[in-house]
């Protein structure tokens, strides 16, 4: 990436969980690296960004997203997805392999990396498939994909139903010592369900997808992780009982981590009333009790981090009968302000806790550069405006996916500057060309 000579972020409130810093300071970036953090830095030759009244923190990292390329470019491309991520304050993202074809080979992994390199906005670390074609039958070439740059493995959206195959995948993953990311769903129990099973589904006449469909698979995979000693990262936890099982597994010392999405932290099944297909996600939006439990789990570290599950779709994928609508929310460009508004402003998480769960912890789980702005580290930085309130405008999204249930919501905590390896890729909501 092109590197500016020097950039000085002046007078911001610097929050870096890795150094336990929360103080007003200047941050000097030089040759793509953090050069210094001091109360006052004079660098006459540096370009200066006035960060007064803003928060300067490590660049955000999203460990679960869908960039749709190759094969589904009508929904998103690596270019449009990179722009959306930069607009949302993300400096690194991990795209899922459920493209067409499925990213189940070293060539597919290299393709994603090469395309991201050409786009040159943010870091893209691809996730490889667990099984060939994500068909759940034979292991994919995980080791070769790791050599090509895959940072984790997942059959996201098409969970490995066969317990023996999942066991083999976990055992095999010891070669790379990379995590398997499990989308937890027993498809028989899901039974083509449209939304959370319960009163709202009953009244709306929509097919229920019971919490048990997710929880039985979480239980299975915890048991298999216990058997194999593998690293297991549980994707988008959506139920209180799921979080409880993860808590117990961690207490036992298993190598399990977990993520939760902004929408599962800020919306309940009640949002589905009215059949707005932008509320159709997988796992489905659950109850208020689940949301409360997930927030507590995130605060206590039972759920380690936030991941967007950015899932862009075309209008045609969404403006249909609820049952026929595609699952997913276009999430890059609302993740931070949603959680800032609903969790930080509401006193449920501190600024430091949220930033840590969106940068440092994801970096640690998947061994990625970034997540810290300690001097000497890669200069991936996000600057947040904690106060200005703006309405979500899906039509202004950089993502091709305008599928958001948050259009029009007034939020604060918008990212105003995204710096990747010392280069400004987004300023004041405008992504550089």
């Amino acid at each position: 990436m092109k590197v500016l000579s020097k950039l000085l972020l002046k007078g911001g409130r610097v929050i870096d969980p890795s150094q336990k810093i929360d103080a007003v300071a200047d941050v000097l970036i030089e040759e793509g690296k953090i050069a210094a953090i001091e109360p006052k830095i004079d660098a006459p030759d540096a370009e200066v960004y006035d960060a007064a009244d803003k928060i300067v923190c490590p660049g955000l990292i999203d460990v679960h997203c869908h960039l749709r390329e190759p094969g589904l470019e009508r929904k998103e491309t690596i270019a449009s997805g990179s722009r959306a991520a930069a607009a949302g304050g993300f400096t690194s993202v991990m795209p899922m392999p459920n493209t067409v074809p499925v990213a189940d080979s070293p060539a597919s992994i290299r393709y994603v990396r090469d395309r991201a390199e050409e786009v040159g906005l943010i870091h893209v670390y691809p996730i490889g498939a667990i099984t060939k074609g994500s068909e759940g039958k034979e292991l994919a070439k995980m080791s070769a994909m790791a050599d090509a740059g895959a940072v984790a493995f997942s059959d996201d959206g098409r969970p490995v139903g066969n317990s023996r195959i999942m066991r083999l995948a976990m055992e095999y993953s010891h070669i790379m010592d990379l995590p398997l990311i499990a989308h937890e769903e027993d498809l028989d129990l899901v039974d083509d369900g449209d939304m959370n099973e319960g009163y709202v589904a009953t009244v709306m006449g929509l097919r229920g997808n019971p919490p048990a469909a997710e929880e039985t698979m979480i239980a299975r995979d915890i048991i298999l992780a216990r058997l194999t000693g593998a690293r297991l990262h549980i994707a988008h936890v959506s139920t209180a009982y799921g979080a409880k099982m993860i808590r117990e597994a961690k207490e036992e010392g298993l190598r399990i981590t977990a993520e939760v999405t902004p929408h599962h932290l800020t919306m309940t099944e009640e949002a589905v009333r009215g059949y707005d297909t932008n509320t159709k996600v997988n796992p489905p939006l659950r109850t208020a009790e689940d949301v409360e439990a997930l927030i507590v789990a995130l605060k206590e570290g039972v759920i380690d981090c936030v991941a967007t599950d950015h899932a862009p779709h075309t209008i045609e994928d969404k403006v249909v009968e609820y049952h026929f609508a595609a699952n997913g929310i276009s999430g890059f460009e609302t993740a931070l302000p949603l959680l800032w508004t609903d969790l930080v402003k509401e006193g449920k998480l501190t600024e430091t806790e949220l930033i840590e769960r969106m940068s440092l912890i994801p970096a640690k789980i998947f061994g990625l550069p970034g997540g810290t702005i300690a001097p000497g580290s890669i200069a991936d930085v996000t600057v947040i405006d904690p106060e200005t309130i703006l309405a979500v405008d899906k039509n202004a999204f950089y993502s091709k996916g305008k599928n958001t249930p948050y259009h029009g919501r007034l939020l604060s905590g918008w990212p105003v500057l995204t710096v990747v390896e010392g280069e400004v890729v987004m300023e004041n909501r405008v992504v550089k060309e």
């Binding site: 009163y199 589904a201 009953t202 009244v203 006449g205 929509l206 059949y275 009968e321 049952h323 026929f324």
Partner: protein, 309 residues
Amino acid sequence: MAIKTKDLIDLEFLTADEITEILETAKPMKAVMRRDIKTVPALRGKTVATLFYENSTRTRLSFELAAKYLSAGTCNISASASSVQKGESLQDTGRTLDAMGTDIIVIRHNMSGAPKLLGEAVKARVINAGDGTHAHPTQALLDMFTIIERKGKIEGQTVVILGDILHSRVARSNIWGLTKLGAHVRVCGPPTLMPKDIEKMGVEVYYNIDKALDGADVVNVLRIQMERQQKGLFPSIEEYAKNYAMTEERLKRAKKDVLIQHPGPMNRTIEIPSAVADSAQCSVEEQVTNGVACRMALMYLMSGGESLV
């Protein structure tokens, strides 16, 4: 005018007064049907289109005749005979009907929520003639009208809805309407065909038919679909009938003057034996007549007709 919203999606969104007004207006409409000349000019110059994505003989005919008795022009579009098969979206089909000057679109669809989706896309007023497992408001209206004819009122009646509650839009719309007008509603069926948390709709849940029938004023027997057995929701049709058929013997548990309803078409060998289906206590044929009257009342009020109450 009774209906404040543009579209009639379900009784859930109507007040008790609005429901009562429709039911009251259906009385003079029924009188019209008994005349030699069965038409009134209330909807003269208006066009009613029935857009059916599911097979249905009686509901479609009922709406069509109701529109004709009100002097409206009618046209029928069925999914199998239209551009729907070419992959045209529901909204585009609706906009086409709009562009041709349709005033009311009556929609039957196998997907819950489809009428709302259509209503948001068109200027015409939309009436839900049954969507998926969500709602069938005009069926509930005609069931309630029939109860009032037979029993005088809804309030205080104990109504049992019997059968496959999970997949029944008839059950859901009846629950909204009946509870709004003060009936005690019990739902009864196999646990595998009982939707989760339905008691929060203000009904009592029974798995045992004898207990459910105890002291009942009305029993609404739902049709059981054969494919539910194929999906494993109960072991066999025989076992379903053993536990949930509305037999003469079981009927003794209900009040002596119990009213038996069925939305049709009936499975006489399964949920409703002929001895009950053909008894004077069963209102199946009146329900069909009342369906036309209720749909006339609804379209009349939705077209800006003066309240007749």
